[in-house]
């Protein structure tokens, strides 16, 4: 049996009420809210979150590949999948690549992953979709776009959802596009895009799939598919002949927003969270054609229930108080130039210390047993020399030993919460706390690790890190 072994998802903790956007631009009241990645998050960091959620209580070393789909990668030239692999501490002897340039990237990556496993070139492959597109202020996209990610572990054997079949359509249809130097997406009249694009292409792919499998729309228990907004999403479902009351998995468009490449995968995670053995789940991505898949849920679904997924991440949120805060963390403005000198990073150092930075490996002294971070030659407890075992700290939790909240740090979201954490299994990690409510930060509070951008490459804000995204682990209050 070939299919989905495990799943995971991530939704940033910050949400912006659409009323705040409407109020900013004096628009008619808009419904719902959208998820907004924190200033230290991008598609790579959100991808890591989804991968780690997907691999909860599983052996990370069994993953043979990582295919990453996004239309908003941090680098235009430089792979993102390799960074996610390193942070998730997957084996380095695996195939990683990025799928970009189309909203359907996740579907394409999934197809390649299924085929890789089927062909026997990999036993287990991680498919990750992540999106953090920046919409133009005061555009319809601004109301719609949200941020998030999803991940699926594809494999053979004890799958939670087995593949029944897939069907793929390629189309030269142009709906939204962005050229290398465009800051924002462009599109055409929405009625044209809807009628000729969404409404025709996805149903065509699904029709092709069902006819291949000799099934009818009635055989589908739940359908997880892309739609740019709630209304169009419902119309696409109707065009496929699905019952809107029972057969369509809730679109997340009102609560998370349109997460582009990651939207259909996130809806699929939501469907799997609620699925029962025997359910048939349709999964369809859209963009330059469409990919349609049918999965049948197995008994093994019960083994992969303990995920933060969509449900728990959705319930765990902090509202951005106003549009200004959104502008701030999205870097939508040109800011006052920094008078303090830029911080610099160094590629040789980052490379030399890659295990320490990406995998968050510390070391445990073989002489005295104390865990320490960062890497040392001589034990900071017992002074034994070069006598350590590496130990991964990214999956450890801890308690705040002390903290301070710096209002003048070089950081987008102030105050910067410096945090000294004593790890529950030993060792101390000196870090920055993110995704926090400053009124609740306290000595003794429980925290966990999260992979973030420590210094960004932006020159407008004082985050210059030699033009690189400098990823590192921060701590956050245990999320959910």
């Amino acid at each position: 049996m070939l299919g989905i072994v495990s799943y995971g998802a991530y939704i940033p903790i910050y949400r912006l009420n659409r009323e705040a956007i409407a109020a900013m631009w004096s628009k008619a009241v808009a419904k719902g809210e959208k998820a907004v990645a924190n200033a230290d998050e991008d598609t790579v960091t959100m991808g890591v979150e989804a991968v780690l959620d997907c691999l909860r209580d599983m052996d990370r070393r069994t993953v043979d590949g990582l295919y990453f789909a996004t239309d908003s990668p941090p680098y235009v030239e430089k792979q993102s999948a390799s960074i996610i692999r390193a942070a998730a501490d997957l084996r380095p002897d695996i195939l990683t690549f990025d799928v970009a340039h189309s909203l359907r990237g996740a579907g394409s990556a999934l197809k390649v992953a299924l085929d890789s496993v089927k062909a026997g070139s990999a036993r287990r492959v991680m498919v990750v979709a992540s999106e953090r597109r920046v919409p133009a202020p005061n555009s319809d996209f601004e109301l719609q776009f949200g941020d998030g990610s999803a991940a699926f572990l594809i494999g053979e054997g004890d799958v939670a959802a087995s593949l029944e079949g897939s069907h793929h359509v390629s189309s030269e249809f142009v709906d939204v596009w962005r050229k290398p130097h465009d800051t924002y997406m462009q599109t055409w009249e929405d009625r044209f895009i809807r009628d000729e694009g969404y409404m025709k292409i996805v149903p065509e792919a699904v029709k092709g799939l069902l006819s291949k499998l000799h099934l009818t729309p009635k055989d589908i228990t739940k359908a997880a598919f892309y739609g740019p907004d709630a209304r169009t999403h419902a119309s696409i479902g109707a065009a496929m002949g699905l019952d809107p009351k029972t057969q369509i998995q809730a679109s997340l468009l009102d609560s998370v927003g349109n997460t582009g490449t990651a939207l259909a995968p996130m809806i699929l995670v939501s469907a799997l969270e609620e699925a029962k053995p025997g359910d048939r789940i349709l999964f369809a991505t859209y963009g330059d054609g469409a990919d349609a898949f049918l999965f049948k849920v197995t008994d093994h679904i019960e083994k992969v229930r303990d995920r933060r997924g969509i449900k728990r991440h959705l319930a765990s949120k902090m509202m951005l108080p106003n549009y200004g805060k959104y502008v701030e963390i999205r870097e939508l403005m040109e800011w006052e130039s920094a008078r303090r000198g830029a911080r610099r990073s160094s590629l040789p150092v980052i490379w030399r210390e890659r295990q320490m930075i990406f995998g968050l490996y510390g070391q445990k002294c073989r002489s005295c047993g104390n865990i320490q971070y960062p890497r040392q030659r001589i034990c900071i407890y017992c002074q034994a020399k070069d006598n350590f075992d590496p130990i991964r700290l990214s999956d450890k939790t801890g308690k705040v030993f002390t903290f301070s909240m710096d209002q003048r740090a070089q950081e987008i979201v102030l105050p910067k919460v410096f945090t000294v954490v004593n790890l529950d299994e030993g060792g101390r990690f000196y870090s920055v706390m993110t995704d926090r409510d400053t009124t609740k930060v306290a000595v003794g509070m429980s925290v966990e690790m999260t992979f973030r951008i420590q210094m960004g490459p932006s020159e407008a804000l004082p985050l210059e890190g030699s033009g690189l995204y400098n990823y590192f682990w921060r701590v956050r209050p245990i999320r959910c």
Binding site: R339, S345, Y373, K416, F418, R428, S466
Partner: protein, 404 residues
């Protein structure tokens, strides 16, 4: 191991006013402090055989050449030392060792810092590249206040103080500093403040607010030193001071990462005090010292330093602060100068400036009569660089010369 006690003397000192001097560069500051010290010791630059110069963030300077070029010293040895904000203590220690070894007979120790050309308040990005580029960025390279604030939070929680109680306790330290500074003509901040002002000031790094932080500024201090047996040549009336102890303790550096570090003690200061008391033969610092100039870059820094040096029992600073034990008429005046807080903190100059305060108090030349201490015999100057868990601390104990 021999003690340095009373082997060397300070026979002349100079100190510029500390402040924001938009019209002075590092050379102006060096010349001004050195001129006062030369005149005070009745010597000239030509008499100096070796010099130690300390600065930490002044990027217009390089090596010892900044000193030799500013003063036009002619091909003598100049050693540049750097212990971050604790640099000043190291200049005096270097000079003292040069004299005690009898390699030189008359030397200059000068600390200087030109900080106000940077374009922003605070220390900022002083050392790009000196810290781990990613891990080191987490604790914000220049963010001394964020690091000291960690100790304030922990001190409050360890000793059961609410943030309000803790902040109020620390506020009294800042009020004292400003009161003392207001009467010191060379001090940077000469305004008196109230506890309410301190508590209502903007937060810089919670729980520390604006008035918990010292004034970063420009300044220089200088000492002319010789062996004690030669001191009367320069000060025939005998009003010189001798070095009773000069100690430095450099921490192993990973305190903040070690679970055994509690953030309520400056371990390096504790170690330097141990060395210094042993060298000076001090058993009870609280009783034996006439005054202490303490590295109070932040209010919490003074409090924890006083405890770490054994002048106050650990965890009991609050009682001392409330009883006024560290005020001018208290058991042991702490920072009668105004301290780094009010006198100002040009990093490399502060350690020497602390000794200058004792020197003037000892000579009865405190300028403003109301701040002149009586019966000044022995004083301590505490100077440290780095941040909690990762300090280098220096303690210089000076006092009246041994009776002949």
């Amino acid at each position: 191991m021999e003690s340095l006690k009373d082997k060397v003397a300070i026979v002349g000192m100079g100190c510029t006013p500390f402040g924001e001097f938009w019209d002075k560069d590092i050379v102006d500051l060096i010349v001004e402090a050195a001129d006062e010290a030369f005149a005070d010791a009745n010597v000239t630059a030509k008499d100096i055989q070796a010099a130690w110069v300390g600065y930490t963030v002044s990027d217009t300077a390089m090596t010892g050449i900044i000193l030799s070029s500013a003063l036009q010293l002619q091909y003598i040895p100049v050693t540049r030392v750097e212990n971050a904000c604790g640099t000043g203590a190291e200049t005096i220690r270097g000079a003292a060792l040069g004299l005690a070894s009898k390699t030189y007979d008359l030397v200059l120790a000068l600390g200087v810092e030109k900080m106000k050309d940077a374009g922003f308040g605070g220390i900022g990005q002083a050392w790009p590249g000196k810290w781990h580029p990613v891990y080191g960025a987490a604790p914000e390279v220049g963010g001394a206040v964020g690091r000291y604030a960690l100790a304030a939070t922990k001190y409050f929680s360890t000793y059961g103080l609410s943030p309000d109680e803790g902040k109020k306790m620390l506020a009294k330290i800042s009020v004292k500093a400003h009161y003392n500074g207001s009467r010191n003509p060379k001090a940077m901040l000469r305004n008196r403040i109230t506890i309410e002002q301190v508590l209502n000031a903007p937060i810089i790094a919670w729980p520390l607010g604006l008035f918990d932080c010292c004034g970063i500024c420009d300044g220089a201090s200088a000492a002319i030193m010789c062996r004690t047996e030669d001191a009367r040549r320069y000060r025939p009336n005998g009003d010189f001071i001798t070095v009773k102890a000069s100690a430095i303790a450099c921490g192993p550096g990973w305190g903040k990462e070690r679970t055994t570090y509690g953030y309520t003690v400056w371990e390096e200061t504790e170690a330097a005090a141990r060395q210094a008391y042993a060298m000076a033969g001090i058993k009870n610092p609280r009783k034996e010292l006439s005054m202490a100039e303490v590295h109070d870059c932040f209010s919490v820094a003074e409090m924890i330093a006083v405890e770490s040096m054994g002048i106050c029992e650990k965890g009991h600073a609050r009682e001392d602060i409330e009883s006024g034990a560290w005020e001018q008429n208290g058991e042991i005046p702490v920072n009668i100068s105004g301290g780094l807080k009010a006198f100002g903190h040009p990093a490399g100059a502060s350690g020497g400036r602390e000794v200058y305060e004792f020197y003037k108090q000892f000579q009865g030349k405190a300028d403003e009569p109301s701040r002149q201490l009586k019966d000044v015999k022995m004083g301590l100057a505490h100077n440290q660089g780095g941040h909690p868990g990762n300090f280098v601390a220096g303690i210089t104990i000076v006092g009246e010369p041994p009776s002949r």
